[in-house]
Symmetry: C2
Subunit: 215 residues, 2 copies
Amino acid sequence: MVKQERAARTRQALIEAAAAVFAQEGFAAASLSTISRQAGVSNGALHFHFASKNALADAVEAQACQRLARITASVPARPGPLLQQVIDATHALMDALAADIVLRGAFALACEPTRARQGSPHTHWQRWLEDTLRRAEAHGALARGVRAADAARTLTAATVGFAVLGADDPSWLARTRTTALWTTLLPGLAPRHDLPRLRSTGSHPATPHHPHPRP
Amino acid sequence: MVKQERAARTRQALIEAAAAVFAQEGFAAASLSTISRQAGVSNGALHFHFASKNALADAVEAQACQRLARITASVPARPGPLLQQVIDATHALMDALAADIVLRGAFALACEPTRARQGSPHTHWQRWLEDTLRRAEAHGALARGVRAADAARTLTAATVGFAVLGADDPSWLARTRTTALWTTLLPGLAPRHDLPRLRSTGSHPATPHHPHPRP
């Protein structure tokens, strides 16, 4: 293995270990030596890659934002109501939170009062929701009187709530919960004529992000 | 001032200071000496009242649960749709979160991975929502096909999300946000014939918990 490749692997192992420790113990309680031990590297290697715990948290958030961007980009712009894209992205995000420790660690950082909100995945998620719902509004694909920004905030708050509660009790991240959320939300968000076409279960009941792949 | 009264005041000052420090710095980062300094008492006085940081956090949560119980008990059982009680309680809770540091500190502890969920105010809130929505279901005051438990979980997640995001940006706790949440939720939760009678602004647009009382 060339030196550069080995360095990249060590860096990635540190990011994943940090995410796991942030999710399990919280950012403030997380110790750098627990992180390096969990990554199977020396303290020196950690300090070579990351100057501080904040730098590690920045890297966890940056990688989570990339994965979130892949999730939202992978939702196909299919013909039919635009809201289906938002439903599908919510399912994909919850599946990913259940399966992906980097995303879970980054969402756990949302609770850390000393960390800036700028680079956090839930800020990116809220922006994507606002953009997509604004397009839906412009195309008449939101219920009359619903403002895209309000709908985006309701969805952001619910998602952050599911992520925080799911950190402790993974059943919050189950597909049935996300479906129940959308069953509750759809009649308020969608124009009545779109309701029969919208599926709160998502277009793809089994996605590649599903935490329990069948054998 | 009798000795007992002074002890009760010191204890209360410590609970409020602890809640403020938990909300500002998080539980793990909070130091006992910051808390005693902020309460204006000695470290010795803190240790006389509370054996540990966990004991302080327990006291913050217990007091928050009492205040939450007062909020839900103060929502009058008035004639009309039962969901109005849930709307009114949500507004009262968000107003109280904006104004009351003990509630805010206790909701901040919801993010602390090492704390048990049993005594946390959001567990009590979820239970109250489940009970009240189950009664609504039994009285035909929920939309057909909506399960009380699902509606309670959606509302719990949204509330926890608003509390976490509001810790950083108080605008999340504004009345207009809670009203927008309910405007989005009502068409999915309420039977159609109840919609004209339900007010997403709450029955009492100005409650005693309002954070900015007018002079």
